[in-house]
């Protein structure tokens, strides 16, 4: 046995040796948390790998992984890597048509998928994907009479036979692995153009994983809930890279509907969620508290005020007055502790958020009730590993300091450039893109505009390419404005326009849960999103929000000109199924601008009302026509008030 720990399969064998009985993977299945120890996982992976080998899977091939977070899909990635292959996890909720491109691009011949739904999609895509030959499924439900597909159980059975027939073969394959081999290919959903396959090596992900584990002192005793898409780099870092580096336990929820319950049961020590999850959670907390009795509500309000005053400081270990400390202690007993518990967060040592900007109020809320929520910054191309917020140095408006081994500088136009062991090797079959994104000195161009403050913390303003100029030459950072808007619980999505124009206007999506609740409390009847969005009361509510950010922007120097003059509330929610958002829920700015050109013209043309009809596509492929007359609102703007401190 070689003692190198530079590829994931080697790490797996290492854990199986060092902590064979320690739980590696759990899955809520058949009502209980089924548990596999590291030695059992190693055995499972071995059977899967040998099965794939028996079916002809060889070094350098790509294995598609499609489905919800299932143990055997995680193990499949290891199985592919053990054979020198490359795992290609894909977003499981995409329709078959979307798979065709990626399957062809990655020349997929073998696909490990979760269930009948995914098998059906593979079979639908198969005629257009010449290479796709082998489809394996985890859950046999409904697949009894399918031909030319095979279950994981059968695959593993073949693997065990193969293993017996070829003793030592599996270990030899692992021994052939090199740290610079590509271990995984993650497709960036890309806000424009076709997805690109980002090739990342064992070495890169292990470096990123190890850096993170050291930074936050993660050990095998930690535990994490794996519920985010496996194709997303964040999940690959936390539930795979760090899992194999630290040797902790990953827990797969029973289904998408039960994530919150499962979270509460498992009570992970390490947690990751994009800001939208934290936001939804906070909204539910607030809504549920509305129904509480007046004493309880009063108690909650009082102690939340205490937490706002001193919670974050106490968490950061800063000096706080004894009176406040006592109150916080009481609050922890009566409110924060129980609240963390019902949210399933009472054992969390470290929680991260990333992927989008998080609202300062939201961020402060979680920190103030004693959850060590931090931000990180990174891209698919950097294994999601560039900046981390160190404990005790959490600033609300920054994404933290460069992580260990990461070399970061600010380039031309404010673009953030990074270098380090975690960088991608290349974009698959796209040398031009690769060359364009990595400069001569080996720095990767993140595409984000940002600046470093005095303490060395990085602050991200916007996508570098999105940063435009107003007609008067002032800087226009649409994301910055949109994020400010989205920090209001009532606003779910916003799209700001202003590049090369004299002023800024915006589309807004209201948050159905939050505004709906608000409307119900005021006895406002409505029949659905479209109806609610056009209520005069709702428009007034949103106008207040817009005017509030205008007031803020007025104090931010160059950005003072970016105040939103006019806006409208869209008649439908922007939706990935209609291509308006990416699968990671980022706005496709260009597409939206084109699709709703009429509305933009109306905004800038001074019209008060505009009629629009839009085709909406549902998940099951049905379509429906939504039509509405949208009222355009004018918002108050403010005179600029002094320079912003950079």
């Amino acid at each position: 046995m070689d003692e190198r720990q530079d590829t994931f399969p080697r790490l797996l064998l290492q854990h199986a040796r060092v902590r064979p009985e320690h739980p590696a993977t759990r899955e809520k299945d058949l009502g209980i948390w089924q548990t596999w120890s590291w030695s059992q996982v190693a055995d499972q992976v071995r059977a899967l790998a040998c099965g794939l080998a028996a079916d002809g899977f060889r070094r350098g091939m790509h294995l598609a992984i499609i489905g919800d977070n299932r143990p055997r899909l995680y193990w499949s990635m290891l199985a592919a890597q053990a054979l020198g292959g490359i795992a290609v996890p894909m977003y499981q909720d995409a329709p078959a048509a979307d798979f065709v491109y990626v399957l062809n691009d990655a020349e997929i011949a073998y696909a490990n998928v979760e269930d009948q739904e995914q098998v059906d999609k593979m079979l639908e895509a198969q005629p257009q994907v010449a290479t796709l030959r082998h489809i394996y499924f985890d859950d046999p439900r409904g697949l009894r009479n399918y031909e030319h597909v095979s279950s994981f159980d059968d695959l593993q059975a073949r693997g065990r036979e193969f293993d017996l027939a070829h003793p030592g073969w599996y270990d030899a394959e692992i021994a052939k692995g090199e740290t610079d081999d590509v271990s995984v290919m993650l497709y960036t959903s890309g806000t424009t153009g076709k997805p690109k396959g980002v090739c990342l090596t064992h070495g890169a992900f292990i470096a990123a994983g190890r850096g993170g584990c050291d930074f936050d002192r993660l050990t095998e005793r930690d535990s994490i809930l794996s519920y985010l898409p496996m194709a997303w780099v964040g999940d690959h870092l936390f539930s795979f890279g760090q899992w194999l580096v630290a040797g902790f336990t990953i827990n797969c929820p029973e289904s998408g509907d039960t994530v919150m319950t499962d979270l509460r049961e498992i009570g992970p020590t390490y947690y990751f969620a994009p800001p939208r999850v934290f936001e939804n959670l906070l909204t539910t907390v607030m809504i549920r508290m509305e129904d509480a009795g007046s004493i309880k509500r009063g108690l909650f309000r009082h102690f939340m005020a205490v937490a706002r005053r001193c919670g974050a400081e106490i968490l950061a270990g800063k000096p706080v007055a004894a009176g406040d400390r006592l109150q916080y202690w009481l609050g922890n007993l009566l409110v924060y502790g129980p609240l963390r518990n019902v949210l399933g967060m009472s054992r969390i040592r470290i929680a991260y958020t990333a992927g989008a900007a998080i609202g300062p109020d939201l961020f402060r809320f979680y920190r103030s009730i004693g959850i060590n929520l931090k931000q990180l910054y990174g891209q698919t191309e950097t294994c999601a590993y560039v900046c981390l917020q160190p404990d005790g140095e959490v600033k609300l408006d920054s994404v933290g300091k460069p992580a260990p081994e990461v070399d970061l500088k600010i380039g031309a136009g404010g673009e953030v450039l990074v270098r380090g062991p975690m960088l991608l090797r290349e974009y698959y079959k796209r040398p031009d893109d690769t060359a364009e994104s990595i400069d001569a000195d080996g720095y990767f161009r993140t595409g984000d505009a940002g600046l470093l403050d005095d303490g060395g913390h990085l602050k991200i303003i916007d996508r570098a390419k999105d940063v435009g100029k107003l007609a008067n030459g002032a800087m226009f950072a649409p994301n910055y404005i949109e994020n400010k808007l989205k920090f209001f619980p009532h606003i779910k999505e916003a799209v700001a326009f202003g590049h090369d124009r004299d002023r800024v206007c915006a589309f807004i999506n209201i948050d159905m849960g939050s505004v709906g609740n608000w409307a119900e409390r005021r006895g406002l009847a409505y029949s659905g999103y479209t109806d609610l969005a056009q209520k005069a009361e709702v428009r007034a509510l949103i106008r207040e929000c817009v005017e509030q950010i205008n007031a803020e922007l007025a104090g931010e120097g160059e950005l003072a000109d970016s105040q939103v003059h006019r806006f409208l509330i869209l008649h439908k929610e922007l939706d990935p199924d209609d291509d308006e958002l990416t699968r990671t829920r980022k706005v496709r700015r260009g597409f939206v601008a084109e699709k709703y050109g009429v509305l933009i013209d109306a905004l800038y043309g001074g019209k008060q009302v505009e009629h629009i009809e839009t085709l909406v596509r549902f998940e099951d492929g049905r379509t429906n026509m939504v039509a509405a007359d949208l009222v355009i609102e004018d918002a108050q703007t403010f005179a600029a008030t002094g320079r912003r401190a950079a």
Binding site: L30, G31, R141, R144, E254, S255
Partner: protein, 263 residues
Amino acid sequence: MTTHERRSGEVILRLDNISLAFGGVKALTDISFDVREHEIRAIIGPNGAGKSSMLNVINGVYHPQHGTIAYRGEVRRSMNPHAAAASGIARTFQNIALFRGMSVLDNIMTGRNLKIKSNFVEQAIWIGRARREELENRRKVEEVIDFLEIQHIRKTPVGRLPYGLQKRVELARALAAEPSMLLLDEPMAGMNVEEKQDMCRFVLDVNEQYGTTMVLIEHDMGVVMDISDRVVVLDYGRKIGDGTPDEVRGNQKVIDAYLGVAH
């Protein structure tokens, strides 16, 4: 729905000249039909045609005055509920017949009562065979829960569930017995379109996955014509038609008595 080869086999249940009356009221008059293994057999007819009575005769809740029932070669004058259950006949009811004071899990566990061999003393001590059986059966029940996708309500008291889910739990309880024949009394009554689709899928999945023979009463003609292999038509307690959905659709008596009136 993908086309599925249904493996209709031998006749396993045959009813001959069944007549049933309550007091002086005739519910069923001289009805004969058979059910083949693995098939989905529908019973249709207007309200009061005697459909539910027919199921009650099959699983022994009612005892007909005339006629015989042959199940798996054994000919009887009438069934009794326990014998029916023991020989693999399970059923659901038109008006949900769940045990309202119990959780979903416990309701489904009752479906496995015939598989439990330990006596009450063993169960009171809760060691050895009693506990082992409890755990084995729990696992089987969890598979049914998984199959019918009701994981999220496992520990909820059934009384708190909406109607559609209660129907699903009742099906789960019947399935937990691993029946070879399942009698479904209007499994989709009172459901919305989506719930009906789900239920249809479950019925077909059960039939396909476990090969369970089904005898099904249903009002929704679309559903009946879609999923059943053969249909019996009753009217005023008499049989007026029997055959494949197409044959029944073409039968003039049926059209007069039923299709013409109801739909």
